[in-house]
Symmetry: none
């Protein structure tokens, strides 16, 4: 069952109760993998365990990360849950179309932000798509586990219907997010050396812009090699001149 | 809006937190009417108010009844949420088919049982249909507000116009294909100068690979400028070294 390829990732969650509640929710729909980035409550957390009821196994096997990038490093496609529309050149889809963006055999990550604020623009820069749950415009902030269970429900429906999809015969496999990140550090390092990412106070937003571009590309491993080749060529040969 | 004809009815709920959580959930999806049959916690309930966040109005306008029959007396069609299949001669539908059973202009009630036990067979006797949320067979008991929000989500979708994607207020407009091509000629020229696109018989396929990458990006004009900046920086500053 392909639900085994789904990873729910809670970024900076504030309350143990919500983490426990999400654990129960994902187990209700046969999803096993929970990742947590920089929890802001104690961890392991007694309230989380109490509220998860029969989903203690999900909590116990959950993994803790210290950055969003690391938490998605081994995944292929990343969706970020958002309740607001952002000024970012990244496609925002309705959750009702989530299934169309999922590809067979790929490892899928779903990012959820903190209860109060949601994900920051930096935290969504590694996402391929933003996903919105259509809701009451005047009262659109859903509880964390409520958002999560709607994703579970949609994913479960998708994978239990077993819709057929077409496999492309394209040979090179999609690069893991960690490979994209490696490539990005490479260019950022190069650009830093050359003073491109200045003034300093604009550096972070310039980096975010660059990350947004390359993360939404679904680059294949071959394409990463091509881009690396291009960038290092532009560097090297000039040095000889 | 026909969501105004939807009534959520909690039967013998045990915990104020869950009632508050359901209030928030239904308001998230523009549903206004909450009814409660024989609550087993104090009522009004402070925990319910605290957890409902901005949905206090839903709690304050909720109505209390002392029997299921009375709570559905003025409604036209009644659905009862159930997690188990019962030995009862009553149609059990999947929630994905709920919308097919809803008729225009009719008042619709949705019954939810107590957290631990669900609705009794007596309590569902007034229902037209039983409704099941497809889920993990080995762990199918959903939290009360989680079941409720999945109903909300389905009903909201049914009654509202489907948006499949959202417009961002991101300012920079998508670059025309001709601008992408101009950018591509720029890098290809640069790469040619440096002998990257060799041997000659592979040149065309290398160029095709590069074009494939950048054309599928939906680059904005701003992003094109960023990329141009990156490429020409990598070129220029080196010359000075």
């Amino acid at each position: 069952m392909s639900l085994n390829n789904i990873y729910f990732i809670l970024v900076r969650p504030q309350m143990g109760e919500n983490i426990g509640s999400v654990a129960r929710a994902i187990k209700n729909f046969n999803i096993k993998h929970l990742r947590i980035v920089n929890p802001r409550c104690n961890w392991p957390n007694q309230k989380a365990l109490a509220i998860s009821v029969g989903a203690k196994d999900v909590l116990k096997s959950s993994k803790i990360y210290n950055s969003v990038e690391k938490s998605v490093g081994d995944l292929d496609i990343v969706f970020a849950s958002t309740s607001r529309i952002r000024k970012i050149n990244k496609e925002t889809i309705s959750i009702t179309n989530l299934k169309k963006k999922i590809k067979k055999g790929r490892k899928i990550g779903i990012l959820f932000g903190p209860e109060a604020s949601g994900l920051s623009n930096d935290e969504i820069s590694c996402a391929d798509y933003l996903v919105k749950i259509p809701s009451n415009k005047e009262f659109s902030s859903l509880n964390l586990s409520h958002s999560a269970i709607i994703f579970c429900y949609e994913l479960f429906q998708h994978f239990s219907k077993r819709k057929s999809s077409y496999k492309t015969s394209y040979k090179s496999s999609i690069a893991k997010k960690s490979e994209v990140e490696k490539f990005l550090s490479f260019i950022i390092k190069g650009l830093d050396k050359k003073g491109f990412l200045q003034p300093m106070h604009k550096r972070q937003s310039m980096i975010r812009n660059i990350k947004n571009i390359f993360h939404r590309l679904n680059l294949s491993e071959q394409e990463i090699r091509i881009l690396l080749g291009i960038f290092s060529t532009l560097n090297k040969i000039n040095k000889k001149t």
